[in-house]
Amino acid sequence: MSEERQIQLEVLRYNPETDLEPRYQTYTVPCVNEWVVLDALNYVKENLDPTLSFRWSCHMAVCGSCGYMINGEPKLGCKAFIHEYGDHIRVEPLAHFPIERDLVTVVEDFITKFASVKPYLIPKEEKPISAGEYKQTPAQLMKFKQYTLCINCMLCYAACPQYGLVPEFLGPAAISMAHRYNQDSRDGGRDQRQEVIASHEGVWECSFVGACSEVCPKHVDPAGALQQVKVASTIDWYQEHLMPWSKK
């Protein structure tokens, strides 16, 4: 039998039509320990307050929609189990993003930055379909596989103090995804991506706090990717300035 208990769910509310600034509202929610915070939010929505707005979709840590600050920590609502918390849980919208309404944030900045790194395969050479697939060995796949696990949940942006302080920063997920394609043996688009990710607002804005990797729900290790991009970009610089003849 599941143990039932009551929790106080304190949610940051904001209605752009009526509120000048956000305010906290507390709901008493009867829940079982197997619940996640997203279940508690859905209970509120269905039983206590239908005006509460929040994003969610898959409930299985795949879609990346339900990122919130839970007791001050960026978490997926569907992976934050009630039994890991006390009787009082505070839920706020993801930090560093403007609040659209309640727990819903404005994510245009992330989407624009993510698209700017060309997060797709740019083949080294175009082949006709009749020439067959672009083959890859398991070792070549392993080089970038962990970065493919990113679900664009933006927890890394909410954890990154640098993104909070310098909103122009391209950020962890976008640069990790660029690194993912740069590491792909089938890809030839690195030069195009370097213009964006090796810029000042790109990887050099990162000061390696490492918070992005600590909060990543899929263990992508964006901080590692960013440091590897720094190393590669530094090698590029030395090659360009000390060995100009080596440039392709």
Binding site: E21, I99, E100, E108, P161, G210, D221, G224, K230
Partner: protein, 128 residues
Amino acid sequence: MSSKPYIREVPKTSWFFRQPRYMRYMAREVTSFFIGAFTLLLVVGLKRLAEGPEAFQSFLDALRGPLGVLFCVAALVAAIYHSTSWFNVTPQAMPIQRGEEFVPGKMIVGAHYAIWAVVSLIVLIMGI
């Protein structure tokens, strides 16, 4: 997008108090000041050496005073914290892939500690 999104400002000077992990980061960064200061001290030492034996002796005497010893101990502690905090993240910055596997992070970190120990030993032997 709504017409009135609410923007939460990040406090520019106190943001690192919000999270223990930010404090750890700041601790790592602050230790750089001690390393920078010790480097400056070495430059001053070189200058005093160039000025002659008496000048260098007074520099050494100052270092042996309570303030000099206190600073050197603080710089040593800061340098150890700074170095170990960077050694511990080297597997993230420098992963080594062998075939389909990555070399375990502990081995990369361990190699750094081993090289550190060997270099420190050589410096100590040369100094005696």
